[in-house]
Amino acid sequence: MSSSKRSAFISPDTPPIMTKKTGQLVTPALAILSALLISTLFISLSGQDPAMIFSKMVHSTIGSSYGTGQVVFRLTTLILSGLAVAIPYKLRLFNIGAEGQLLMGAFAAAITGSLIPETLSPALAIALCILSAMAAGGCWGLLAGVLKVQFGVNEVIATIMLNFIAQGITGYLLTWHFALPSTVHTAPIRSAAGIPSIESLTGWFANSPANLSLLFSIAAALLFQIILFRTRFGYEMRAAGLQPEAARHAGINAGMHTLIAMGTGGAVAGLGAANIILGYKHYYESGMTGGIGFTGIAVALLAGANPVWIICTALFFSSLEYGGLTVNAWVPKDIFMIIEAMTILLVISFSALEKQFLNR
């Protein structure tokens, strides 16, 4: 996020601005804190005791093994949809389309999983399903990239439209071609393509949907951290995002980076299907992504688009989301949507305030 906030007055005489390092942690923490305070207010206003609500939330999330499993399940997809937003964000591209990319990936994974031969080994079956999910999501992201590079279509508009189109395509294919008779879901995937639950291996998180695709998510976050900050590719990409003109002068092909970033973002969003389809549901049904692609925007922004920080912010949002669900009987979960959105607005406003304060 830092690039967009540079002060309006850049003169050669301007003294060096404070190092951002100190504020990097304090600002988001302050924002989260204030968001929680304001939500305390909202809960009180709705006639409930905030302390009771928060303690119930803690009990039903990290307080129980099932609840933790639910949080882990959400975390798995949320890391990936956060990355799907963060990678293009490094090029100042705003990918609003993680939802559509995930939808395409989920559908592709479910169909591939149901069509592969039964005799396939689990490793091969899982790999095939994941590849098709990533390919579908990747193509969907890439399409927005091509529209941007070739025709100058703003990526925000392109990805929003592609979300609608993805919804339409998957809805049509499901209803007219792939839904099992008298159901609203596809045929189940072959058992070989299922990703084992964490419970089956360790006994943790009993009965919860948490599964081993968590490892893919964490691996992806670490991999992108390395690519962005340790490779020549990442060096070029970050430069192109920070100062496109300088990158052009240095012989960096910014258009190519746009395509790669959008394609990669889409593929990572598609990978989220591994968790939902292969790890949990084992079939595709409409509405199953539940807006997690949009929460990814919040996750990425709060983390300043840093892959490793995304793991932390995704954990925050998945706890909030599942926690909100568990206290739904007392407080409408809309309150927690308010908290999520408010945290983002506060982070952005606080960072701006911090800049002003330092420059004064």
Partner: protein, 513 residues
């Protein structure tokens, strides 16, 4: 005469960094007071404090004897202070009159603007100070020199009695500069107080009554301009004696390297920016292009570097060592041995958020010697950077951690120069304003390196708005006007005319306007 601005022990700190240290200064009413200093000396910070954009950490300010504490420029304006920024604060879509009255419409929000009265006032001011201008013309259609007049009229309209000018001549032609000085003098004679921020010492001596020199946040001294000399001021600014003119031995040009034939350039909007431009550049010579900004310099660079924006129409032939440059990508052209110091360092030359070390290889990160696997060979880069930092005297505390934005403009430019001058296999060096925003000490070093590169047989194309720089460095000079070379001074002419710098600058000035 009273004191217009009095500063008493003004200190401004940004965190631990002190931009102004204990500055005490008195600017007499009705004088032109120049404030000189290198980049990063704290001139802008000090003027921003006077203008109410920054608050001092400690110290007192008095305007015409009254102690003040401005919390915004609005209060400074109300106290009679006006400022013309280096980058003009005008709205191009509005007319001259609309720009001048902006913020001072002298009427209520929804009532009619008293345009007639405002226009009359503008015309009166313009006549009084020789600032002829049509109040109904759109600002977008004005030359830079005329836009500056609008800025001055804005201050007069607000009845500012103290006027601050930040690097006012940076964008003016020699003729416009002369006219501007005349205006300054006549405003002074009518009792206005003028604070002039600049780094051009010749101008200070020509127009100022009093000079204050700043260095590293401190006020080094204040003296009468009439008794000051250029070397003395330079020594006060830098803190040591400076060689103001680089030694320029005669050149022995080799084979023709870069050849441009009838180059045409039409922008996507249909403007003709280059028109049958032809020039030849040989190895071991410096071909300097003099010209007022906007006469095709940018487009010329774009043609040679393969950076022309999509949709522009190029014509003619551009060859480097016999190979055509047209249609090649910047990376391919770089591989042909072309190095380039871009005109806008902050936008095009460096990545501000990257550390110094990453900037020292930026654009050269494709070179194998820096690679290791998919990443970089940190040890190789470190030793390369050590050498560069030492050879070019780049002042930074820790190159691997310190972002380049924390360096002074001069040191940033040294990073770019070090990087570009040492590209392996370099045959053509393009320098666009190589010393813009760079302090005197660094200019001396960069000029030496340019001459060294020429002596080693590199062909150098120099674009500069500083005619002194062109006269000091050039082997040949081409005067660019409306997209073509209008006049060329040959090698012998330049060598002959260099002895009389002032005359030569005037002569060049005639060919570029």
């Amino acid at each position: 005469m009273g004191v217009a601005i009095r500063l008493n022990g003004v200190t401004k700190k940004f965190g631990t960094f002190a931009a102004n240290i204990n500055i005490s200064l008195a600017v007499e009413e009705g004088t032109i007071h120049a404030l000189v200093g290198e980049n990063g000396a704290g001139k802008s910070t000090l003027t921003n404090i006077i203008y109410g954009m920054l608050r001092p950490t400690s110290g007192e300010i008095a305007i015409k004897g009254n102690a003040v504490r401005f919390s915004s420029p609005r209060e400074a304006i109300d106290a009679g202070i006006g400022m013309v920024h280096q980058h003009f604060m005008l709205i191009p879509e509005l007319t001259v009159a609309e720009n001048i009255m902006l913020g001072n419409e002298e009427c209520r929000l929804f009532s009619r603007i008293p345009l007639k009265r405002i226009r009359a006032q503008i015309e009166k001011d313009a006549e009084a100070f020789g600032l002829g201008i049509n109040p109904d013309e759109k600002v977008a259609q004005l030359s830079v020199g005329r836009q500056q007049r609008v800025e001055i009229l804005k201050l007069l309209f607000r009845n500012a009695s103290i006027m601050i000018f930040d690097e006012p001549t940076a964008v003016l032609t020699p003729l416009e500069t002369e006219q501007f000085f005349t205006t300054l003098r006549s405003m002074r004679d009518k009792g206005k107080t003028i604070l002039l921020i600049t780094h051009k010492l010749d101008e200070v001596l020509a127009v100022a009554d009093t000079v204050s020199v700043m260095r590293k946040g401190e006020l080094i001294g204040t003296l009468k301009a009439a008794s000051a000399t250029k070397p003395e001021l330079a020594r006060m600014m830098v803190g040591r004696s400076v060689l103001l003119k680089v030694d320029n031995p005669p050149s022995q040009p080799g084979k023709t390297l870069l050849s441009l034939r009838n180059i045409g350039f039409i922008t996507p909007k249909g403007e003709t920016m280059l028109d049958h431009l032809s020039l030849d550049l040989s190895a071991g010579e410096i071909y300097a292009i003099a010209g007022v900004e906007g006469n095709g310099q940018r487009e010329l660079l774009q043609v040679i570097r393969g950076l022309a924006p999509a949709g522009s129409t190029l014509s003619g032939e551009a060859t480097l060592g016999g190979c055509s440059l047209i249609g090649k990508t910047p990376r391919e052209i770089t591989r042909m041995g072309v190095s380039h110091i871009p005109e806008n360092r902050l936008r095009e030359g460096i990545i501000l958020d990257y550390p110094v070390s990453s900037n020292l290889i930026f654009g050269r990160h494709q070179e194998r010697s820096f690679h290791k696997g998919a990443g970089f060979d940190d040890a190789a880069i470190k030793s390369h950077n050590r050498m560069m930092i030492k050879e070019y005297d780049i002042r930074c505390s820790s190159p691997e951690l310190q972002p380049i934005s924390a360096l002074s403009g001069g040191n940033q430019q040294k990073v770019v120069v070090a990087r570009e001058f040492n590209r392996p296999g370099i045959s053509l060096l393009i320098l666009a304003h190589p010393t813009r925003g760079v302090d005197i000490g660094a200019i001396e070093m960069i000029h030496k390196k340019i001459i060294d590169a020429r002596l080693q047989g590199v062909a150098i194309l120099l674009l500069s708005s500083e005619l002194e720089e062109i006269v000091a460095l050039a082997t040949r000079v081409g005067c660019l006007f409306k997209g073509s070379i209008r006049h060329e001074f040959s090698r012998d002419e330049v060598a002959l005319k260099r002895a009389n710098e002032h005359e030569f600058i005037k002569e060049i000035g005639l060919h570029i306007t």
